[in-house]
């Protein structure tokens, strides 16, 4: 039970830190790195529900699917970042907003 609490607290810390970093970061690559940490937090939270007497296969399956979906989102995000850089020449969201107007 203590281990479950530690893992759960860690997952919440990772999740909230990643969200805060996504709000503050001024670079799209950094935002994507924050998203990766957010996925780590989510995976750990899902996995925590299976820790205890043994390992729950359903929770493991959800973690597996979460990993693949996170990887898909991140690959599309990286492709988008490259396209944005080609078009606008910057990765700063504030500058991008000004350039668009």
């Amino acid at each position: 039970m203590v281990e479950q609490s530690i893992l759960f607290v860690t997952s919440i810390i990772l999740f909230l830190l990643a969200i805060a970093s996504m709000f503050y970061s001024r670079n799209l690559i950094k935002t994507l790195m924050s998203f990766q940490i957010l996925v780590f937090g989510t995976n750990l939270a899902l996995f925590t529900s299976s820790v205890g007497g043994g390992v729950d296969l359903l929770a493991n399956t959800l973690v597996l699917f979460s990993v693949f979906v996170g990887a898909s989102v991140e690959s599309v995000g990286l492709a988008l970042i490259i396209q944005i850089y080609r078009k606008y020449g910057t990765l700063d969201p504030h500058k991008l907003r000004r350039l668009r107007q």
């Binding site: 810390i13 780590f40 990887a71």
Partner: protein, 158 residues
């Protein structure tokens, strides 16, 4: 598994993740992200989810790290601006305080798993009981692959 090992790994995971977010150098940020991924994988392994750890390692510490590196090389962003550092540190302290308070309260409500047998049965379980989810996952992966290829291919106007 002893509590000390779990606590140590969780501290390593949080420190590497925070330092990765705070670092202004790309290479350091990437390396720390890689280490945080490794710490998470060790947590998975010590709790008996070896397949998850393997897939997580291959995807996040392998493929995604390489893709991030390629993006950084293409865009030539050597320094990552993180904005106001004081705001960041205040947020980190606040987040850790809230998480410890909330997490410890919510963790009391968590139920302990029934203790089903583990090793080598995950893929069999997915194949037997979750085939539709697997199909949707394959569609998502294929769609993301097509989208990324479409985005990266140059248009005629360029």
């Amino acid at each position: 598994m002893s509590v000390e090992i779990t606590l140590g790994l969780c501290i390593v995971l949080i420190i590497t993740a925070v330092t990765s977010l705070l670092s202004k150098t790309v290479s350091l940020s990437l390396i720390l992200l890689f280490y945080s991924s490794i710490a998470l994988n060790i947590i998975f392994i010590i709790y008996g989810a070896a397949i998850i750890a393997l897939i997580h390692l291959v995807i996040f510490a392998g493929a995604i790290s390489v893709m991030l590196l390629v993006t950084i090389v293409i865009t030539g962003e050597a320094n990552l601006s993180i904005g106001n550092i004081k705001k960041y540190i205040l947020t980190i302290i606040l987040v850790i305080a809230i998480s410890v308070f909330l997490g410890l309260n919510i963790a009391k409500e968590l139920t302990v798993s029934s203790g089903m047998p583990v090793n080598g049965e995950l893929l069999e379980f997915v194949w037997t009981y979750r085939p539709w989810d697997l199909l949707i996952l394959i569609i998502i992966l294929a769609a993301s692959m097509v989208t990324a290829l479409n985005l990266l291919s140059r248009t005629r106007e360029e």
